[in-house]
Symmetry: none
Subunit: 125 residues, 4 copies
DNA sequence: GTGGTCTAGACCACG
DNA sequence: GTGGTCTAGACCACA
């Protein structure tokens, strides 16, 4: 598994895992329909408690990223269709408001910022 | 004061205040050298504990956004020069990794994302 | 066989099968006295473990929906007479308490709800 | 608090609490904007672990029934607006398919069933 | 074997 | 005081 957890980070472990799984999908490292390790397996791989992984999987399920198949455990949702709803766009815009403001004041130019975005987007399949 | 606090947000109140002050500077709504309300004044305006405001001001000072004079209170740092250090760029890039991945999967195109960035940057002085 | 299993549903597979068999009887798709496939046959058709089918048949027998003959296999109870006992009515009422409450708050009017009931009942023989 | 938990039930405790809170809103026993007991308070009142209550509140928050106010804890969403989305109607219809089928075969007439619905709806504000 | 539920207790962030 | 996170270990339902 490609997960890399920073235990010292102030980002909760479960959030780090969520982030990396979602990014894994975008990068194509995780294929649609691909199985994820079992709750206890992943927990043991990372060296954390299985409840933490359970929380991740449940949130991912609730948000539509994965499905829990009764026979084969958890897999990336083969019909991934996470809606770009109004709420999401609003929260993204809110986040960018403050992120760009700080970046601007810290001397990150618009061009540099856009370059960072493009570098990321160009990696997605 | 132009602060707008969402008490039901997931973002801590002190963080909301910090965000809005920094954005206020970027937008030019807060001029360099401009006085900020006193801790107790601001706390009372927003209806929160003054310890929370205290925390905000101390963090802003620590990061170089404001200066605190014992007598004249808090003002936006007239020599604002918060450095675009390696650590900041790294954390920004880390944030964008996950933000762009989710946005991409939710159907926000690169062009749309960049448009959001430009809209924000164009408001800064 | 007309069974349609959703492996990603929150409802256990054995419950899905039970539900569909009972509904099949109500719709007249399964006649009283009609033979059901053998445990192994049905398990293989659906692609599940035969223990699961076994569980279904045993529960259906226990509740009086089917009869099991050692030789001729399982058939819909020709003298179907599952009693509308007090316990059942109570559990139905309990279920409707919460179902109607949520439906109401989600904007499903009484008329709409009743319409859904009637649509279903009108299909039964 | 008006909660009544059946520890012997096969319905999980957290689900029972959710059900009763939602019904409490529909009945008007819980007003919009009303505070709910704190996680630990409610847990102690019912005599269960606070994690169980925590799970309830988090799910209710996720589904929009309550908001978590940073100052005053958890309250019924004052702007309650839980959307009657396609997914919900589908799941309701699915539930009614099997519920009505069994009720019908157990001798509950359409009229009786509708009477049960009306009795419930007439209690809602 | 899988995930789901519940308990218990610890520590932390926030206000 | 509030909720949020993480650990640990138990028991259960399902397939």
């Amino acid at each position: 598994m490609f997960l890399q957890i920073e235990f010292e980070s102030d980002i909760p472990i479960y959030q780090q895992i969520k982030n990396q799984i979602i990014r894994g999908i975008a990068l194509g490292e995780l294929k649609l329909g691909e199985d994820l390790p079992s709750v206890r397996q992943l927990a043991s791989d990372i060296g954390i408690n299985f409840h933490t992984v359970n929380k991740v999987y449940n949130q991912l399920k609730q948000e539509g990223w994965v499905v829990i198949h009764r026979k084969s455990g958890v897999m990336i949702n083969p019909d991934l269709n996470v809606y770009n709803n109004k709420q999401y766009i609003e929260s993204l815009d809110e986040l960018l408001k403050f992120t760009t403001a700080e970046a601007y004041l810290r001397g990150v130019t618009k061009e540099k910022f856009i370059e960072l975005i493009e570098e990321n987007y160009n990696k997605y399949f």
